[in-house]
Amino acid sequence: MRLTWKEMKLHKHHYILMAPYVILFILFTVVPVVMSLGISFTYFNMLEAPRFIGFDNYTKLLLDDEIFIIAIRNTLILAVVTGPVSYLLAFVFAWLINELKPKLRAFMTLIFYAPSISGNAFLIWLLIFSGDLHGYANAFLKEFGFIDNPIIWLRDPDYMLIVIIIVQLWLSLGVSFLAFIAGLQSVDKTLYEAGAIDGIQNRWQELWFITIPSMKPQLLFGAVMQITTSLAIAEVSMQLVGFPSVNYEGHTIVTHLIDFGSIQFDLGYASAIATVLFLIMIGANLLVRKVLRRMGE
């Protein structure tokens, strides 16, 4: 104990340097998470003091809330499709781009990264998937004789999830894509020469035995970012298919959370939803970490 104290005194300047960030971080991240957990066991509408009701929110959420089941289903469909696909795409594109000449490489990096930093540009998809014949997608399909009547992309339950998936994929290369590009550039080049001597035959083997093992840290970082994004899809769904969407076909866990948190003001219930989502995210992350550790071995 005394030893720890001594050590802490030795580092007192470091604590001072860290203080501003740590205080803000605790205030705006750690405390809210803990509070959210606490509130999830209460009934709380922001007007009256919270009232403790034990696990009621959770039992209601998991056993009685049919819309939540739809939301979970949609979230899992979206996450299982967009998560791995955008992760793979980000990696494949980064890998291909890496072989280009520097100028072209910078250009292609911009092309693939731009959607995720372009603010509200994804609203152009409203025009593309507009439900009348002015919509680009409909006009295109009709022009080439695939359809006679326009498809109401954003209101027809059969198409809503597909549209969200397409737009989300378009948006989602983002941070992990940049991390991969950089990771590839930092792979030790002599490893490839050594590999060629050791009998590596083609680029696929090179990828599996040299490239992937060398950039595991970036792969892991990308996975964490991608899981978080793909499980928290909400903005795209709300903007494109409406909120609430027809038959809740575009409803996700986060839109359900927003519904109870900012419209119905049942904060206890909203916090229970948040906790369930948090647990799903941690679970998914642990699983992916396990899988990635085994890659390329």
Partner: protein, 294 residues
């Protein structure tokens, strides 16, 4: 010799250097790259080109990839609409600049200050703090939206720009990247400065900070992009404190005659972060090469 044969021939010469490539593989992979590149770029090009189209051209089929009659009409309409609004445009603009600048500068400074000890020293509490940061990367901000609102209102920050700035300063992704970057830097310089008797603060501001300049840019663009598009949401009610993107969004909401203005708004929102990224691209990639998780 036709062009394909020529290309294949050149390929063969190169093959001597890089034995592990096949022509079929190359064609397949780069076709893939081109197709998805088009998929990625098309909506952005449409957004940009729509902003310069006259209204009647917005709805023709096939949609023209580039405007036939280039016009600045949409931007003129936009500035007129903004000019008629109750709050002067410059006010919205100033609000956004203030939020973006304060938030970004604060984040770079404060996150770096915290990242330096985390990256280079072992002391009690270090592992806990870093573990919390890594775990916080794993959940979406919406999860804590409600308690965040309560905390911000308790501190009395509701309806001030600080409600947006302070949480942004404590973003965990930036701290994480900065720490990974600092770990890679050789610290002999720091050691020698210490022997010469420089204080920790002096070392940090005069030696460490200049060394990590490329990493600043990464943090800047990540946060810049987020703050530039923030609309104040639930935290700011006073009209004269609202940021630019809120004002633009209000204008963009409306009937079909506004479609041209909507396109102009989308273009403005998009072009600023994208330009910023183009300028800083090479430096950013440098930071991410150090950004692995171990």
């Amino acid at each position: 010799m036709n062009i394909i044969q020529k290309w294949a021939f050149n390929r063969k010469i190169k093959k001597k250097k890089r034995i592990n490539r096949s022509l079929a593989g190359d064609i397949f992979l780069f076709a893939l790259l081109a197709i998805f590149g088009l998929f990625s770029a098309y909506p952005l090009i449409m957004t940009a080109s729509n902003a310069f189209k006259p209204l009647d051209e917005l709805f023709v089929f096939p949609p023209t990839l580039f405007p036939r009659n280039l016009t600045m009409e949409n931007f003129r309409d936009l500035s007129e609409l903004i000019g008629n609004s109750w709050i002067p445009f410059s006010r919205y603009f100033f609000n956004t600049i203030f939020i973006t600048l304060t938030g970004t500068v604060g984040h770079v400074l404060i996150a770096s200050m915290c990242a330096y000890p985390l990256a280079k020293y072992r002391f009690p509490g270090r592992n806990i703090i870093f573990a919390l940061v890594v775990y916080s990367l794993m959940f979406a901000p919406q999860v804590t939206a409600t308690p965040n609102y309560m905390i911000i209102s308790w501190i009395g920050l509701i309806d001030t720009p600080w409600a947006i700035i302070l949480p942004a300063i404590a973003s965990s992704l930036g701290l994480y990247l900065m720490k990974q970057f600092m770990e890679q830097i050789p610290f002999e310089l720091v050691e020698s400065a210490k022997i010469d008797g420089a204080s920790e603060y002096r070392i940090f501001f005069q030696i460490v900070m200049p060394l990590v300049k490329p990493a600043w840019l990464t943090l800047i663009i990540l946060l810049f992009q987020r703050l530039w598009t923030t609309d104040g949401g639930t935290y700011i009610f006073s009209e004269e404190l609202k940021p630019l993107s809120y004002a633009l969004r209000q204008i963009a909401q409306g009937s079909i005659e506004r479609q041209g203005t909507v396109a102009a708004v989308a273009f403005i929102m998009m072009i600023v972060p994208v330009t910023f990224f183009i300028i800083s691209q090479s430096r950013i990639v440098e930071t991410f090469s150090h950004s692995g998780m171990k």
